[in-house]
């Protein structure tokens, strides 16, 4: 995205900073959860990264609105790859879980979210290559 593609009327956004903050809070929460014992404290720690996620979502959507039409299409195609692939992964994992017992340490919801980023980046790469 170039500077010229951004409308000057839109507020400044920093989705990368929000993403890093969200990620840092998530891993900090996971680390702290190892030692916290009181249930309400554990739940509070689990919810702690949510404000940073809301910040990220707000900046990401604002950033999308500031992109030019081709870049918006590229982002749409990236999400169109990532969303169904993640859905298939969750559904397949659910079926496998019904079929055989899976260890929560190997496969659980906390292992799935990184795949969303991998699928999104793969979709982004494919879409960018298509319009190069």
């Amino acid at each position: 995205m170039t500077e010229t593609a951004v409308s000057p009327a839109l507020p400044r956004t920093n989705p990368r900073l929000a993403l890093i903050t969200w990620g840092a809070l998530y891993f900090a929460a996971r680390a702290v959860l190892e030692s916290a014992e009181t249930p309400w404290v554990r739940v509070a720690i689990s919810l702690a990264p949510l404000p940073a996620f809301i910040w990220f979502l707000r900046d990401f959507i604002r950033g999308l609105r500031g992109l030019d039409e081709l870049e918006r299409r590229i982002q749409l195609e990236a999400l169109a790859v990532a969303f169904p692939l993640t859905m298939v992964l969750i559904m397949t994992l659910g079926l496998v879980q019904v079929a055989i017992p899976l260890s929560l340490d190997d496969w659980s919801y906390r292992h799935i979210w990184p795949f969303l980023f991998v699928f999104y980046l793969a979709g982004l790469t494919l879409a960018r290559r298509r319009y190069q």
């Binding site: 170039t2 010229t4 593609a5 409308s7 030019d68 039409e69 081709l70 870049e71 190069q132």
Partner: protein
Amino acid sequence: MKNRLKVLRAGKNWSQADLANALSVSRQTINAIETEKYDPSLPLAMKMARLFGEPVEQIFELES
């Protein structure tokens, strides 16, 4: 959709970046339109037509 954007741009001696600046889009968008990998929206096509002083149908042609 075929287009004459590259020819028109060359006629004005503009780079892709110059045209992108004039239209408030990225250089990648101009390149994708010129190489016919991407068809612009109607507002962008009309902006181009206004910029080059030609009707939209003189710049873009629907392939049969």
